[in-house]
């Protein structure tokens, strides 16, 4: 049976991990490769790199990062953050990323989803969606959560599937950073609306939260800070899930 995936997210700026990572026993806690290798050893199933570099050298910095990770890490990884066109996306895969995610660019130009999925094969294209409850519906936001788009997340999820997306990385802006758990209601509705895998993101604070996400059939669940701060290890989380009857890959 296909195992439920645990994904660790790393925010990258100028080729370095940001967000005050407090790993012990690391020579360099800001080195994305060292962190990624550590996560691989702990049994994480996949790593997502969100690049927030804004400088002109972004492309070169990202290229170098992707190449180094690809050579040193033997589990799948996904890269995104500010990618705008098919050439840029293709280049990231060419450099060694397994999957690429786009967010704002997909909303601005949905045709890019079709174009990119044809270029990469749709299995390798992830659409990241940030959404927030506005009283009537879960509204899609872009530009790192700064710009409301007046689009219902359920409609958007169906549209990206139709256009060829291979997976949806769904972040709830309501729960993100709270550690109170994923937005299970939104997650359930999106999972039901599409027939592609959905990754839950935003709000994980304890192992029960992962169980809740998998109970509504999320294919994977992502977290950043709880792994960084070692609130619990990936091994402990997987052991808990396994004992709860959820299929996970144990090391």
């Amino acid at each position: 049976m296909l195992a439920k995936r645990i994904i660790a997210a790393l925010d990258i700026k100028d080729g370095r991990v940001v967000k005050g990572v407090k790993f012990v026993n690391l020579r360099d806690a800001g080195d994305p490769v060292e962190l990624a290798k550590r996560y691989e050893d702990e049994g994480v199933d996949e790593i997502v790199f969100l690049d927030i570099t804004a400088s002109n050298e972004k492309r070169d910095i990202l290229k170098e990062l992707v190449r180094t990770v690809a050579t040193n890490v033997n589990i799948p990884f996904t890269v995104g953050g500010g990618l705008k066109d098919v050439d840029g996306i293709r280049e990231i895969v060419r450099d060694g990323a397994d999957k690429v995610f786009i967010n704002t660019a997909a909303v601005e130009d949905p045709g890019l989803i079709r174009e990119a999925s044809e270029a990469l094969g749709s299995s390798n294209l992830v659409i990241a969606v940030d959404a927030k409850w506005n009283g009537d519906y879960w509204e899609v936001y872009t530009h790192g959560g700064r710009k409301p788009r007046g689009i219902d997340v359920i409609e958007w999820a169906k549209e990206v599937e139709e256009l060829g997306a291979g997976e949806i990385l769904l972040t709830s802006m309501d729960t993100d950073g709270t550690e109170d758990g994923f937005d299970i209601t939104m997650l359930r509705e999106v999972v039901k609306a599409v027939n592609i895998p959905v990754v839950a993101s935003g709000g994980a604070g304890n192992p029960e939260h992962f169980k809740e996400a998998f109970a509504v059939d999320a294919s994977a669940a992502l977290a950043a800070s709880i792994f960084h701060y070692k609130k619990f290890t990936i091994g402990e989380l997987k052991k808990y899930l396994d004992e709860s009857g959820i299929d996970v890959r144990l090391g």
Binding site: M1, A70, N74, G166, R249
Partner: protein
């Protein structure tokens, strides 16, 4: 310089970790292929597009298969062994008989870690425990005519599960639907086993 193993460059995807484990050379060159003892067909992209990009070396691969050189197809690389695919127009290499079909009735693509059930002994399995996890990312699977070539299978789907061939093996030709280069220690072992096949 002659390389023991060549990794075919299909124009998309980076194979630095396959390269690292096998010591192979990433190439698209006819001479390299004809001199190599082992060939790896990696697997990212679309069936039709990749077959088109392979036109100039298609017959080198087919000849290598006939000459009993060891060939390993990964993911799409394995699907290319077969005659046709629902994914795209054009003919595959046809070095194995059968077709490539799309998953139906299950959440697609099949992405993530799933178990390999070893159906019979295979040199690629040396040192790997039955039912180990490997990483998959695909929407299509192979349906060989001769089921004797199926060395391992994987099951996907909750209500109406599909059991599909995840490892095929016929004489000198090996194919894996998962990505060994992304499957941590088990995957690295499998690649090492391929590298150590003696000619």
């Amino acid at each position: 310089m002659t390389f023991d193993t060549v990794i075919l460059d299909l124009g998309i995807g980076n194979l630095s970790n396959v390269q690292k484990v096998t010591g192979g050379k990433v190439t698209h060159d006819t001479d390299d292929i004809s001199r190599a003892e082992k060939i790896i067909l990696p697997g990212v992209g679309n069936f039709g597009d990749v077959m088109e990009s392979l036109q100039t070396i298609k017959y080198d691969i087919i000849d290598a298969a006939k000459e009993d050189k060891y060939i390993l197809g990964i993911c799409l690389g394995m699907q290319l062994f077969f005659r046709t695919s629902e994914e795209g127009k054009g003919e595959g290499l046809g070095i194995m008989d059968g077709v490539v079909s799309r998953f139906r009735g299950v959440r697609t693509p099949h992405i993530g870690w799933n178990r390999l059930f070893m159906g019979r002994e295979c040199p690629l399995f040396k040192g790997i425990t039955d039912e180990s996890y490997f990483y998959f990312v695909h929407s299509y699977f192979v349906e060989p005519e001769d089921i004797d070539c199926v060395a391992g299978t994987t099951v996907y789907g909750d209500e109406d599960p599909v059991r599909f061939p995840s490892v095929v093996w016929e004489r000198n030709i090996f194919g894996v639907q998962f990505h060994p280069e992304k499957s941590s220690s088990n995957g690295l072992r499998l690649l090492k086993n391929f590298k150590e096949l003696s000619t």
